[in-house]
């Protein structure tokens, strides 16, 4: 009990920060010394272990209207206190407040590298947006339970700071499990040690399944939203401009855009006339994709992007035009979210340039 008190900074909106209600939603940041409002309950919970040294307050609208700048401003105000721990809210169901709590926690986690904990109800839009970037405790709707929620937030914070906290983790970081510690899963996975080997767990699971007993799968299968098939290209082929996209990692030798062989984040555009001319040389290409043996494609890149055929078809006037630009990326082990973003970005480019339809080749 002789360890120094941890320094804590707390964020509250205009209401909980005792400045006013909706009429104060536009207020800029103010900093108040020590705990304020629910911060007093938080201080009680922290007891001798922690000291709320400052409370920063701003209006819900002020934050919502320019989130990035406001988050940066918050960091400027928080950093001088050199806190060990940061709490925001909790916001319960309040949407703007939840967004502010989430955004500030994210910035604190990234810039100050200390645990940042808040609390929200599952329907709060801040949950989906910030669950990967902050520790968001699960709360009910009602703000009446605020003291209890602050207790849960503090308990999670101690776990995050303590060396024994929740570690069955293989790589040895301190972290508590979402289900056990009441926070929204951060959408990441970590290796843990289970009590039994995978083989033993598999045989037991199979016997349960065969005997009709209940069992719990270790991996819930993904659910995907169904997509309405886009309308077909309306014009005759002879009037269409067709573009080529590929996630097979085909790039010029030297990989000038640094497309990664695994876990890639970027896409690039290459002018097909110079990138894959009729008299191409296999020596001019690389495959930035470690998931398949690349030699066949390197021998003849048309095997991945059928430029030779589309050129022929353009010449024969079967299609109006082969779109001059090739959109290239690598799809090996890429996070779904980034994959979708890249698709949208490439689509914007194609639309801008009047493409009618695309062929996307994957390995």
């Amino acid at each position: 009990m002789n360890s120094p008190k941890l320094k804590v900074v707390h964020y509250l909106n205009q209401f909980f920060g005792q400045e006013g209600q909706e009429e104060k939603a536009d207020m800029k940041f103010v900093v108040k010394p020590g705990p304020v409002g629910p911060g007093l309950a938080l201080q009680k919970i922290l007891g001798g272990k922690g000291q709320v040294v400052a409370t920063i307050v701003c209006g819900d609208n002020y934050f919502a209207e320019h989130m990035d700048e406001a988050a940066a401003e918050a960091i400027k105000l928080i950093a001088p206190y050199e806190p060990d721990l940061f709490f925001a809210g909790p916001a319960f169901e309040a949407g703007r407040y939840g967004m502010a709590c989430g955004a500030i926690c994210k910035a604190v986690g990234e810039k100050l590298d200390i645990p940042a904990v808040t609390g929200m109800f599952e329907e709060n839009p801040g949950v989906d947006l910030f669950r990967r970037h902050a520790y968001i405790c699960k709360t009910g709707r009602s703000t009446l339970k605020i003291a209890q929620t602050l207790g849960e937030m503090a308990a999670l914070a101690w776990k995050l700071l303590s060396p024994e906290g929740g570690t069955k983790i293989v790589a040895g970081e301190m972290i508590g499990r979402p289900a056990e510690d009441g926070y929204f899963s951060r959408g990441i996975m970590k290796n843990e040690y289970a009590p039994q080997t995978a083989a033993a767990r598999a045989v037991e699971m199979l016997l349960a399944k065969m005997q009709g007993r209940t069992f719990e799968t270790e991996v819930e299968l993904p659910k995907f939203q169904s997509i309405t098939p886009p309308p077909a290209m309306r014009q005759e082929l002879g009037a269409c401009e067709i573009a080529l996209i590929s996630d097979g990692g085909l790039v010029p030798k030297g990989n000038p855009h640094g497309i990664r062989g695994r876990g890639n984040l970027v896409w690039a555009v290459y002018d097909l006339e110079s990138f894959l001319p009729e008299n191409y040389s296999p020596a001019n290409y690389e495959i930035a994709h470690t998931g398949y043996y690349p030699a066949r494609v390197l021998e003849n890149p048309n095997r991945l992007i059928p430029v030779d055929i589309l050129r022929d078809l353009e010449r024969e006037k079967v299609i109006a035009k082969l779109h001059p630009l090739f959109y290239s990326t690598s799809g090996n082990g890429v996070m779904q979210k980034r994959c979708e973003e890249m698709g949208e970005e490439i689509l914007q480019e194609m639309k801008k340039r009047g493409v009618d339809g695309a062929i996307l080749t994957s390995t």
């Binding site: 499990r177 899963s185 959408g187 990441i188 598999a202 199979l206 016997l207 993904p222 062989g261 779904q336």
Partner: protein, 427 residues
């Protein structure tokens, strides 16, 4: 078929003029082993070094780990199709040493993935081989030896070392005797639930230079259609790991966790009806054909009511395995799959590559690409301080202050055959 594995525990290893085991001490004349290895003209010289748990040694260019084992009867063959003549593996008596393993390095390997093993701190803590006394076998090629030919010579050197060490225990009483006795033709007599094992043993997607490595009785199988094996063939040297460690090695095959788990419960909770071995396909039609045949063999030939499926390292094989499992489920055979993950920044559901409703029983062997950090070693074996250690994003060398590698390259850490307790969990 009946296999009896007699294990002798080795507590310490010492050099000596003669190679033998006495009172759990292994005495080894390394010069004798060196001569045996150098009989292969493809090998110019070989380094043989013992390393002990706690030594600040890092072994690099690791291409395999092998448990010392030998057949006890002269009529039997060690690692048939490799060292020994072609004779079905998995019968008779096999001597095994516990507490020692052979760590095999290829110092001139050009393959991009390089396995490593540390004998100290975290690397040793995480790996099951870091707790053993290990013989590092590190051959150098004779001038004219062709690259792939040398890879085969390296493998044989490792197998020879494994056999040589096991032979030392001749005459020493066994500390443990395991009997693997399974007559597949008797399954109809049993009223127990019948369980088969479908093993996706090979994927050609990462083939070095586009050429497949041999795995089964010395043959490569990337073009093979699904086949049936007796589980003893897996435990007794019928299958040897390809030339890269990727969460699997010969030692783990010799101790195949799923096979041993099924054997343990055989005759009590289940009847182990046998093994189907198949490979992943680059062509969609081949993939479908293999899946169909696996489903048929499991159901109609092995007569199974349930099946465990697993696979070697790779993303694409999840699809092959899922299709095979679906083919089984379609015929009323219940399935459980063992899968791996590749990407930490997603939830488990996002990382699965299939979502058929019948595949509702999945076990995971962990995120095998999760990065681990290892401290600097005092000594490097199997390579040099400048040996490149694979990292997907940057270059690093064997004696850098900290090594950052994906877990599947640390020998003895991850295990696609189900032998580790690592499990990926949503956070």
């Amino acid at each position: 078929m009946k296999l009896q594995v007699e294990t002798v525990e080795i507590k310490n290893v010492q050099a000596g003029p003669k190679t033998y085991v006495s009172d759990h001490q292994l005495y080894v004349n390394l010069q004798e082993l060196e001569k045996i290895i150098l009989a292969d003209g493809r090998i110019q010289s070989v380094n043989l070094d013992w390393v002990y748990p706690g030594d600040r040694v890092r072994i690099v260019n690791v291409v395999d780990v092998i448990q010392p084992r030998c057949k006890m009867d002269p009529a039997e063959e060690d690692f048939p199709g490799w060292l020994g003549k072609l004779k079905t593996a998995g019968e008779g008596r096999t001597r095994s040493l516990q507490g020692v393993s052979v760590i095999l390095s290829n110092p001139v390997s050009k393959r991009s993935y390089s396995g490593i093993l540390d004998m100290f701190e975290k690397g040793a803590e995480w790996s099951k081989y870091g707790k053993l006394i290990n013989l590092c076998v590190n051959p150098q090629p004779a001038g004219s030896t062709e690259e792939r030919d040398f890879e085969v010579a390296v493998k044989l050197a490792g197998l020879k070392a494994a056999v040589y060490l096991a032979k030392a225990a001749e005459g020493h009483p066994a500390d443990q005797v395991e009997v693997f006795d399974l007559d597949l033709s008797r399954q109809k007599e049993s009223t127990l639930p019948r369980v088969a094992y479908a093993f996706l043993l090979y994927t050609p997607q990462h083939d070095y230079q586009g050429i497949s490595d041999p795995v089964l009785y010395g043959a490569e199988i990337s073009q093979s259609l699904p086949m049936i094996l007796h589980p003893n063939e897996i435990l007794d040297g019928g299958i040897v790991n390809p030339h890269t460690i990727r969460g699997m090695d010969t030692y783990s095959l010799q101790n195949h966790a799923v096979v041993k788990e099924l054997y343990q419960r055989h005759g009590q909770e289940l009847f182990f009806t046998g093994v189907v071995v198949y490979v992943a396909s680059l062509e969609p039609v081949k993939r479908q054909r293999a899946a169909m045949m696996v489903g048929h063999l499991v159901k109609n030939v092995l007569g199974a009511d349930g099946v465990i499926l697993n696979k070697v390292h790779g993303g694409m094989p999840h699809i092959d395995m899922a299709l095979a499992a679906e083919a089984c489920e379609k015929q009323g055979v219940k399935s459980v799959l063992l899968i791996q993950f590749f990407e930490s920044g997603t939830s488990l559901a996002e990382g699965a590559l299939f979502n058929s409703q019948t595949l509702d029983a999945v076990v995971n062997v962990g995120q095998t690409l999760e990065r681990i950090h290892l401290a600097r070693a005092d000594k490097i074996l199997g390579g040099s301080a400048g040996t490149r250690i694979y990292n997907p994003h940057f270059t690093q060398k064997a004696d850098d202050a900290v090594i950052d590698i994906e877990g599947f390259l640390l020998a003895g850490f991850h295990d696609h055959l189900g032998g580790s307790k690592i499990k990926a969990v949503d956070y």
